[in-house]
C-alpha cells in the first residue's frame, strides 16, 4: 500500500534541514489570463530586497521552477562573485527588467546578450526568486570546511534522515544551493532560471530542477485552496501571511535562535519533497476510498482546516524533493 507522509508548508519551511534562506525577492505582473486569475498577477511586483525573502509568505503563485545547484568551484572569491551577480540579476528580474544591464536586444553586436530574451514584452508578473543553501555549502561529505563558512552553519541545517517510503534522497540532499521562482505567467519560470543558470556556469552546475504548475496550497487568507491532482485540498493548514505571530514562531528564524548563524535571522528553512502521484491507480479506487465528490478532506476528519494537514494522501514513493 502506498506510504503517506504529509508535510504542511509549515513543516516544510519551519522545521526542515535542507536549505536555508538568505534575503530578498520581487514580483511583477501583467494582465494576461493567467495573471488575472492569480493574486500576484497583473503588474504586481514583490521586492527582492527586504527583511525577509519573497516567495515564502508571498501569496503562493501558480508556477514554480525549483533548481538545485552544486557548487563546483573551490574558490571562495568565485562563490562570492556569483552570489553578488545572482543578487543583482534577481533584483532586476523581480522588477520586470532584463537580467543584465544591457538587456536581450541592445548592446554590441559581437557579444552575446546578457539576458536570454524569452521574457521580452512581459512584466515581472509576480515573480519571486528565493535562494537557499544546503549543508554541503558549509562542509563537504568528509566534514571539511569548504569556503571558510563551517563555523556559521546553522545548527538545524543538517542532512535529512531516511524517511520511510522515500527513495533516492541522496541526490537532492547533496545540493548546495537552490532557488525557486514563482511567477504568475506560464513562460516565466524557465526563462528566468536560464539566466541564473547561465550566470553560474563554471561556478555552479545544476544538479536537478523541477517545474511546478497549478498552485494547490495557500499562503494567505486571501487565497482559496484549489484541489491537487488527486482532487484533494492540500495545504489548507499552512501558516498564513496574515498570521504574524505564528510566522514569527514557526517560520522565521529569530535573531537569538542560533548564535552561530546570525546571518540567518529573518530567513527560514525549507525541505523540498518530490512526490510521485500515481494518478491512474488512484482514479481506480472506489469512492469510499477517494471521497472525491464534494469532500474537501477525508470523511473521518470532518471539517477541513488544521486537521487536514494529516489527511492521508495516496502518494507512494517519492524521489528527491519538491517545493510547495
Amino acid at each position: 500500500m502506498a506510504g503517506s507522509q504529509n508535510l504542511s508548508r509549515r513543516g516544510l519551511i519551519g522545521g526542515g534541514v535542507a536549505a536555508a534562506g538568505l534575503a530578498g525577492a520581487f514580483v511583477a505582473g501583467r494582465a494576461t489570463d493567467d495573471a488575472a486569475a492569480t493574486p500576484g498577477g497583473g503588474d504586481t511586483t514583490y521586492a527582492f530586497r527586504g527583511e525577509h525573502q519573497a516567495g515564502i509568505v508571498t501569496p503562493a503563485q501558480d508556477r514554480l521552477h525549483f533548481a538545485a545547484f552544486d557548487v563546483t568551484t573551490g574558490s571562495r572569491a568565485q562563490l562570492v562573485a556569483l552570489l553578488k551577480a545572482w543578487t543583482a540579476a534577481a533584483d532586476r528580474m523581480s522588477r520586470g527588467l532584463p537580467a543584465g544591464e544591457v538587456g536581450p536586444v541592445e548592446g554590441a553586436a559581437d557579444v552575446p546578450p546578457d539576458d536570454t530574451g524569452e521574457a521580452i514584452g512581459l512584466d515581472a508578473s509576480g515573480l519571486t526568486i528565493t535562494f537557499g543553501f544546503g549543508p554541503s555549502l558549509f562542509r563537504d561529505a568528509r566534514g571539511r570546511d569548504r569556503f571558510g563558512l563551517a563555523d556559521r552553519q546553522p545548527e538545524a541545517l543538517r542532512d535529512l534522515p531516511h524517511f520511510p517510503a522515500t527513495t533516492s534522497t541522496r541526490r537532492a540532499r547533496a545540493a548546495t544551493c537552490a532557488f525557486r521562482r514563482v511567477p504568475t505567467i506560464r513562460r516565466w519560470p524557465c526563462t528566468r532560471s536560464a539566466n541564473l543558470a547561465r550566470i553560474g556556469f563554471g561556478t555552479v552546475a545544476v544538479r536537478w530542477s523541477q517545474l511546478g504548475f497549478g498552485r494547490t496550497s495557500t499562503t494567505s487568507t486571501a487565497q482559496s485552496t484549489p484541489r491537487n491532482l488527486f482532487g484533494f485540498k492540500d495545504g489548507t493548514a499552512n501558516v498564513k501571511a496574515e498570521e504574524t505571530a505564528a510566522l514569527e514562531e514557526h517560520v522565521w528564524v529569530g535573531s537569538g535562535d542560533d548564535v552561530k548563524a546570525l546571518w540567518l535571522a529573518g530567513g527560514s528553512y525549507l525541505v523540498a519533497r518530490r512526490i510521485n502521484m500515481r494518478i491512474e491507480i488512484w482514479d481506480r479506487q472506489p469512492r469510499s476510498v477517494t471521497r472525491r465528490t464534494s469532500w474537501a478532506a477525508p470523511r473521518a476528519r470532518g471539517r477541513r482546516s488544521r486537521a487536514a494537514a494529516s489527511s492521508p494522501n495516496p502518494t507512494s514513493r517519492c524521489r528527491g524533493a519538491t517545493a510547495r
Binding site: G3, H162, P164, A165, R278, E280, I281, R284, P286, R317
Partner: protein, 182 residues
C-alpha cells in the same frame, strides 16, 4: 516478510525476503558487507517459519465476495506501482516473477467470482477474460527457462507494452466489486 529497506521506520529491524534478496544480489549495493552464515541461516529459517504460519492461517480464513473482488484489483495495483516499474525487486531484478504471481492471484480471484459475474455483467466478464489473456501473452514472451527475463533486460518498449496491458486490465477490474455485488 516483505518489507523493503526504504519502508523501514527508525528503530525497525529489516528482515524477510528483501533482506535476503539484497544479500544474494549485492551488485547494486555498492560497499555491501555480506551476512554471516549464521545470519543467513537465521533470516532464511525465520522467513520459512513465517511463510508456514501465514499459509496455515490463510487456509482458515473466510473471504467475502467484495474482499475477493477488491483483492483482485489490489493485486493489479501492486503490479502497476512496483512491479512493472522494476522497484519491487530492486536487488535481484526478478520483478517479472512477482508480476506473474500477482496476475495469477488476480486471475484466481476473478475466476472464483466468474459465475456471479457471468450472471450480473457478462460484458465485463468477457472484457476481463480478454485482458487477462492479453497480459499473459506479453508475460509469456519474457519466459526464460523455468523463470523470466531479468527486469534490466526488458526494453523500454517492452516495459511500456506491459504497463499498457496492466492499465487495460486494471481499469475494468476496478468495476468488478460493484458488478458482483449488484
Amino acid at each position: 516478510m516483505d518489507a523493503r529497506e526504504a519502508d523501514l521506520e527508525q528503530g525497525q529491524r529489516w528482515t524477510g525476503w528483501h533482506r535476503i534478496e539484497k544479500d544474494l544480489w549485492p551488485a547494486r549495493a555498492g560497499k555491501y558487507e555480506s551476512l554471516t552464515r549464521q545470519e543467513r541461516a537465521r533470516y532464511a529459517d525465520d522467513l520459512l517459519a513465517d511463510t508456514r504460519t501465514l499459509d496455515g492461517r490463510i487456509g482458515k480464513l473466510d473471504f467475502t465476495v467484495d474482499q475477493i473482488a477488491n483483492g483482485s484489483r489490489g493485486l493489479m495495483e501492486e503490479v502497476a506501482k512496483g512491479k512493472v516499474t522494476g522497484e519491487e525487486e530492486y536487488w535481484s531484478r526478478t520483478d517479472l516473477w512477482d508480476f506473474q504471481a500477482n496476475v495469477d492471484g488476480a486471475k484466481k480471484a476473478f475466476e472464483v467470482l466468474e459465475p456471479v459475474l457471468e450472471r450480473n455483467d457478462p460484458a465485463l466478464e468477457h472484457t476481463l477474460e480478454e485482458r487477462f489473456d492479453a497480459l499473459q501473452v506479453l508475460l509469456d514472451r519474457q519466459r526464460d527457462g523455468s523463470g523470466f527475463t531479468s527486469y534490466d533486460d526488458l526494453s523500454t518498449a517492452e516495459v511500456k507494452r506491459l504497463a499498457d496491458a496492466v492499465n487495460a486490465l486494471a481499469e475494468p477490474l476496478s468495476q468488478l466489486t460493484s458488478a458482483v455485488l449488484s
